[in-house]
């Protein structure tokens, strides 16, 4: 499912201009909110939007922005209220319907999602994103129907979808809602191009440290944000870490590359405030620090990583030692920078191979 961001803003911008000529300052305020939003500073972005809306409570663009921020903050119920009100006040706009559908779909309410998307298409029959989302919804509903027909219980399909969507929202890439749908990746690319500083670029935001890490939105859109070991994703961090690839390549290039890709993917997810992507790098039997429960540890990491702030994690001089075919110990220098905290440390990760992926079993300082 594709959540509308930039595209909608473009449309609603036109609306804003049409509705109100003079309010330049407030538009600037909204732009500032937009900037903060894209940096993942959701609370601050919300403050700005609310300030903007205090003066102009009916403003479509501000309310839309507010809905987006609430969605990112995982406040689905509130976000649904915002978008629903928008569809009532501006029934000719397809974007609020679309985003409403995304939210409903994330709750497994496919019938409501479908109705919303059909409304979006009714207002704009050629609206490609809504068509694609509707296709997804139909496929999901079809799958549910088949499961009932065949009396299958394939786990909780709705919950599964929801989780995927949450991860997609955190990773911020509009393309991420369509895993595996690479052939259909057109509209997300289009959306990304209208907003050059798409949230996906967050990982590379401290551009000073990483010159031209993510040069164009197009390759970003192709990279499945949730699955780090993909080639293009790994290529970007490789540019800023001092050549981790060629260095140990002589010994066992493929094996070692795979491990290093996992490590850089992990650092990238961390840098991108992508909690789900970050947690996905840990093995099911990861040894949590101080014998914490997995759930508690995840909650702690989530609160620290998802917190809207700049994080930059850099891996330097990694060394890989294979304990056996399916287990490797990686040592490196970890440079951690956030708006509030800086740290350099030696780090050791014990990685285990799980299927085609390398996952973290132990994480420790030193080594």
């Amino acid at each position: 499912m594709t959540l509308i961001r930039g595209g909608a803003l473009a449309v609603t911008m036109a609306l804003l201009v049409a509705l109100s000529g003079p309010a330049r300052a407030q538009a600037d305020e909204l732009q500032e909110a937009n900037r903060l939003f894209k940096q993942g500073q959701l609370d601050r972005a919300l403050d700005r939007v609310d300030a903007h809306l205090a003066n102009r409570p009916k403003d479509a663009r501000g309310r839309f922005m507010r809905g987006l921020i609430l969605t990112e903050q995982n406040k689905s119920a509130e976000a649904i209220k915002v978008f629903t009100a928008l569809t009532e006040d501006f029934p000719e706009l397809p974007e609020p319907y679309n985003n409403l559908a995304v939210l409903y779909a994330s709750q497994g309410q496919y019938d409501k999602a479908r109705t919303a998307l059909e409304m979006a298409i009714r207002t704009h029959p050629s609206y490609a994103t809504a068509h694609e989302n509707l296709g997804d919804i139909y496929a999901k509903m079809a799958s549910q129907a088949y499961d009932k027909a065949l009396q299958l219980d394939r786990g909780n399909a709705a919950a599964q979808t929801k989780l995927n969507l949450i991860r997609d929202l955190f990773s911020g890439g509009p393309q991420a809602g369509r895993p595996g749908a690479t052939a259909k990746a057109k509209p997300p690319v289009k959306v990304a191009s209208t907003t050059p500083a798409a949230p996906v670029a967050k990982a590379a935001a401290p551009a000073a440290a990483a010159p031209a890490a993510v040069p164009a939105p197009t390759p970003v859109a192709k990279a499945p944000a949730a699955t780090p070991p993909a080639a293009p994703t790994a290529a970007a961090p490789a540019a800023k870490t001092p050549a981790p690839k060629p260095q140990p390549a002589a010994a066992a290039p493929n094996r070692e590359d795979a491990v290093l890709q996992a490590v850089t993917g992990w650092a990238k997810a961390w840098s991108g405030n992508d909690v789900a992507g970050y947690l996905a790098h840990y093995a099911p039997d990861f040894e949590t620090p101080k014998g914490m429960s997995r759930a508690d540890w995840e909650a702690q990491r989530r609160s620290r990583i998802a917190k809207p702030r700049q994080i930059e994690v850099e891996i330097q001089a990694p060394k890989v030692k294979f304990d056996d075919r399916n287990r490797a110990t990686v040592t490196f220098r970890q440079r951690y920078r956030s708006d509030t905290f800086k740290a350099d440390a030696r780090k050791t990760l014990v990685m285990v191979k799980s299927g085609e992926k390398w996952l973290i079993r132990q994480e420790g300082v030193g080594g």
């Binding site: 009714r122 029959p125 296709g135 079809a142 799958s143 549910q144 088949y146 065949l150 299958l152």
Partner: protein, 424 residues
């Protein structure tokens, strides 16, 4: 809907093509009807007044698909699912209707990771239900097996296994009148049961022998009883004729379906006849234990009620002649009413003759009254095997006895002979 996607439009053609195949199959099965569903007669009798709405909605959906009205089709199938949440076939069709909006479909039931047979059996149910609906309702006609219902038999059940349909007839002054029919499930391996465990449904003339309501089934079988749904009506397979042919096995019942499903695929039982729970309950209201006939045939031959009159008369004459000869104490004449192949299962014709001669010698008079006579032709026979059941009021100089009796009559040359006789 103002607009639909291009993909959906393309898929629409493909989907209707696919279901068109099913429809073509169905209309080939019922050429007389020209592919149009027939309105059910305005049934008016206690249990049977509600038509099986689930099937009607499903069929309506399929015809909407055939006519390229996919939006209406989806609305119709949603109605079916709302009324019958466990109607699996409806869910399958819904899945197809939804998926057809995203991509072209090449078949019915487009999901992966499921054994092929699981989908195939639902496709079979779709075909069976389509064929059923296109089948002409037997207004003013009767299966030729129903020669005569006796006055106490209020209803007769006749199953056509080739059409997965159980017909219910009401006894109106001795003439069977069609009132309803229901989709049924039969044995995995089809028909003509021969052995225990062959998962086939028997063909023949049977009677309901008992009633096993839900709580009784639960007491008897615990959790396993869920398989039978709301209840069960065992029938007397193997009957006298089956035994004579060496057929065995046991536990052939009419029963419901598990509560988590609305219906079962057409061939999925171990030989029993399964109906939806609501249909079983409707039938249950008419079943008379020990009385209601259940005739199972692979292809019912339909005749007008008058067409059976001659045969009925012939058999009635034969029965009356047998009764009169018995009363006459002319034992040789009486024994001529029996076939040389006669057997009770214990006595053959020689034993039987000896016994009758000995008994009759000691009598000075016999009076036999025959009443409540039912006569059914045996499926698969060429009008030459009949099951006759009646109340026999026997009185003689030294013995008086009332009993229910069953005889199998076989036509040898031009005359009907008794080939089996015993208590019913």
């Amino acid at each position: 809907m103002i607009s639909a996607t291009r993909a959906a439009r393309a898929a629409r053609r493909v989907l209707s093509g696919v279901l068109g195949i099913a429809l073509a199959v169905a209309s080939a099965a019922a050429p007389a009807m020209g592919g149009h569903p027939v309105q059910r007669p305005p049934a008016n009798l206690d249990g049977f007044s509600t038509p099986p709405e689930a099937e009607a909605l499903l069929i309506k959906t399929l015809f909407e698909i055939k006519n390229n009205r996919l939006v209406t089709a989806l609305a119709e199938i949603e109605k079916a699912i709302q009324a019958y949440p466990n109607f699996r076939l409806a869910h399958l069709v819904k899945g197809d209707l939804l998926l057809a909006r995203t991509r072209p479909l090449t078949t019915m039931g487009n999901t992966n990771g499921v054994p092929h047979e699981r989908i195939e059996e639902l496709r079979e149910e779709a075909k069976a239900r389509l064929a059923r609906v296109q089948q002409e309702r037997p207004l003013g006609r009767v299966p030729r097996y129903l020669l005569q219902l006796q006055p106490q038999q209020k209803y007769a059940l006749v199953l056509d296994t080739s059409k997965y349909t159980l017909y219910v007839f009401e006894n109106v002054g001795g003439t069977p009148r069609y009132i309803a029919d229901y989709y049924t499930t039969i044995g995995k391996n089809g028909i003509d049961k021969y052995r225990e465990g062959d998962k086939k449904t028997p063909l023949g003339v049977y009677h309901v022998t008992s009633s096993l309501p839900r709580d009784r089934l639960n007491l008897m079988y615990g959790n396993k009883s869920a398989l039978y749904g709301t209840g069960a009506y065992p029938i007397n397979y193997p009957n006298e004729w089956d035994r004579r042919q060496g057929r065995n096995g046991h536990g052939i019942w009419l029963h419901g379906v598990p509560f988590d499903t609305y219906s079962r695929p057409p061939r999925s039982s171990d030989g029993c006849v399964a109906l939806t729970n609501e249909d079983l309950e409707r039938i249950g209201r008419s079943v008379q234990i020990g009385l209601t006939p259940v005739i199972i045939s692979n292809d019912i031959e339909w005749v007008t009620p008058d067409a059976s009159a001659a045969l009925r008369k012939e058999l009635a004459h034969a029965l009356e002649a047998w009764r009169a000869d018995w009363e006459s104490l002319d034992t040789d004449k009486y024994l001529k009413r029996y076939s040389t192949n006669f057997s009770t299962g214990k006595q053959d014709i020689a034993d039987w003759s000896d016994h009758k001669r000995k008994v009759n010698v000691r009598k000075s008079w016999i009076k036999v009254k025959v009443d409540q006579v039912s006569m059914f032709l045996y499926p698969g026979s060429q009008n030459d095997l009949a099951v006759v059941t009646f109340e026999q009021d026997y009185a003689s100089s030294n013995l008086t006895q009332k009993s229910r009796k069953r005889q199998y009559w076989i036509k040898e040359g031009k005359s009907w002979k008794i080939i089996y006789e015993g208590a019913a």
